[in-house]
Symmetry: C2
Subunit: 388 residues, 2 copies
């Protein structure tokens, strides 16, 4: 039983989106196919993943370092103690050989994407959906039937009117979502507040709306926005400043009573330790949004979750970044607060299974073995070609 090949290709996202800080016009993602010699339903099991959104494709590091380390490791060293399946923790350890400590972001996206593709294979070999396998291993066997999902929307685009923005949010609610997120920081504060107010008219209450500044603000602007936003009692205020400026985050937290959120730009468990230790993030109140395929994968995410629980955090505060089938399975499997959704955004890479239904804010899960990319026809066409 062994991993026969691991293939990677870089695919452009072809997105015209922009947030307050940057646009996605050059953005690419690495699609990975991990091919095993295990046969299920008459064909070799292949695990798939992609490197989520916001960080560029990283195939060169995969091909130069992480794939050869896995393919040259003794196959038996990559199996779990039963010998019936692969052991993601062992594969992670093999990938981390000869890597210098620190600077995790230099390798965490490449490692994490391969590791999540391995989990897809592991779940398929176990003939289980990944969310069920994760629930058994990491959530006391509590199997979710659906996951709370909110829409990451409200992007800026040229020529957009307030009515356009209201229409977008109305569409999300009509689809079945109950909470939306919108960008802030791309316009002056007074204009951003006007955008916020019209969206609030549509969604009905601050607890159904989050805002996202994408780390743009320096101290003065962050505190000005915090002061202006606080009265709205929003679900959360996301990335008000540089995601590593823990001192400023702690200062903002003392001025902003409603929940804050961050984490998609933290790539190691140690960075999350620093957030809760120095960043003023409040257990039982604030939100943490690590993106597992970008932060060395699911084994490392389990370590981050365990560290947070040791520090008094509840899983309901965790919303993995990504808005894709991977973060959905992880949110369901670990029993987290919920997942993000990007309907109609990021081309073939956003969104969930074609037959997934959103109802009263909760997205249905499928029984497909693995992560469930096979239920996303256009994305699966890209993936299948890689394994052919």
């Amino acid at each position: 039983m062994r991993i026969v090949d691991i293939r990677e290709t870089a695919v452009p996202l072809k997105s015209k989106l922009a947030n307050s800080s940057f646009d996605f016009s050059e953005m690419t993602t690495s699609v990975v196919a991990l091919i095993t010699d295990v046969v299920r339903d008459g064909a070799p099991v292949v695990g798939y993943a992609f490197n989520s959104t916001g960080r560029y494709a990283c195939g060169a590091a995969m091909r130069a370092r992480f794939i050869p380390r896995i393919l040259t490791a003794p196959p038996s060293s990559l199996l779990d103690s039963s010998g019936d399946n692969f052991d993601p923790a062992q594969v992670l350890a093999v990938m981390q050989q000869r890597e210098k400590i620190g600077g995790d972001a230099e390798r965490s996206v490449a490692i994490g994407t391969i590791e999540v593709a391995l989990w897809d294979a592991v779940a398929k070999i176990a003939r289980q959906p990944l969310h069920r396998l994760l629930a058994e291993r990491h959530n006391g066997g509590r199997i979710s039937q659906s996951v709370f999902c909110y829409v990451g929307g409200g992007w800026y685009w040229p020529g957009q009117t307030l009515d356009d923005l209201k229409d977008e949010m109305r569409r999300h609610l009509d689809t079945g979502y109950t909470m939306v997120k919108m960008k802030v920081g791309g316009l002056p504060l007074d204009q951003d507040l006007r955008r916020l107010e019209v969206v609030l008219e549509v969604v009905g209450g601050g607890d159904r709306l989050a805002v996202d500044a994408n780390g743009k603000f320096g101290r003065d602007e962050a505190l000005a926005y915090a002061k202006a936003l606080a009265p709205f009692g929003l679900r959360w205020f996301e990335e008000p400043c540089c995601p590593l400026d823990f001192a400023l985050m702690a200062e903002i937290a003392t001025h902003y009573a409603p929940p804050l959120a961050t984490g998609e730009n933290l790539y190691s468990t140690q960075d999350v330790v620093n957030l809760v230790r120095f960043g003023g993030w409040r257990a039982g109140h604030d939100i943490i949004q690590v993106d597992p395929p970008q932060a060395s994968g699911i084994v490392q995410y389990a370590r981050t979750v365990a560290m947070l629980e040791d520090n008094g955090w509840n899983r309901s505060a965790l919303f993995p970044h990504g808005g894709n089938q991977m973060s959905l399975a992880i949110a369901a499997g670990f029993g987290l607060g919920g997942a993000e959704s990007y309907p109609g955004v990021f081309g073939d890479f956003g969104g969930f299974a074609d037959d997934a239904r959103i109802e009263n804010g909760r997205l249905s899960l499928s029984d497909r073995p693995g992560i469930g990319f096979e239920g996303q026809a256009r994305l699966y066409a890209i993936m299948r070609e890689l394994a052919a």
Copy 2:
């Protein structure tokens, strides 16, 4: 006046070295040649750099993102206000377009290496050694004639005896160095202390010896080493633990009176802010060792230096990591505490100009325009071929 081409190639270091945490057997570095249309001495000016040591080659990101952004920018937008030379700050800003905040290590080595190659060209265009150009711009015109250098040595290798280690250290002193560094953490504490004691016999005093744990230790081991090492009054104890575990670093600092050192694994100014804010690092006492070509380059390094000075730090506490001609020029140009040296290590990439002389612990500087790679025959042969 424009940048005509930027070329990159990955070169294996072919090093058999190992520290307590990892070996360099797979290590590569990216060599960069930045070709301009400016003619000096009858030939186009070419700037060179490589990505220092310890992080792998990163040419794919250069070719996909950073080089095209520079080559497609309007040439006039990359010039300084005089129009007579390139402006590294502008070129840095162009490279950072469409890059998401945080996760600096994902791009800082690629960006920094190109940026340092640009500085080599800028100094050659100005017909000055880089250290002199930097002294004028960043150190009030105080030109150094030489730089304090210590040897980063004392590596572990199979079959090594204590006599081998003493011989190595004696060679360094005989060459003209007055301070050496050795690895710790690769053996049990009692054996490491024995190594330390024999080296101390050779070098004569703790102020002439530093030790480096390469971030290996967890809390218990770090505190045990701190307790055991403190009586020796060493020059510094480097990377006692994970370089991002600021809470543990602060705890170690309360138990270890002599100087501590870290920084080669911090890739952003914000990480260094966190070190001095939360890591317990003591201004006027401890050491910071950021590696400029790995941390987005010299413009960003100047911002880090300015931030540290604002926080009460003196430049004498700064020793850039690297042990190469780039960190030497930067240490000289900014008037820092000194530089590292790796004689006979890291193949063609360690060491300084072939005609450089070390005397009483200080390395002589040359008048060659630019960084001075032209004085390192074997390294320059690799670089020149890239520009041919």
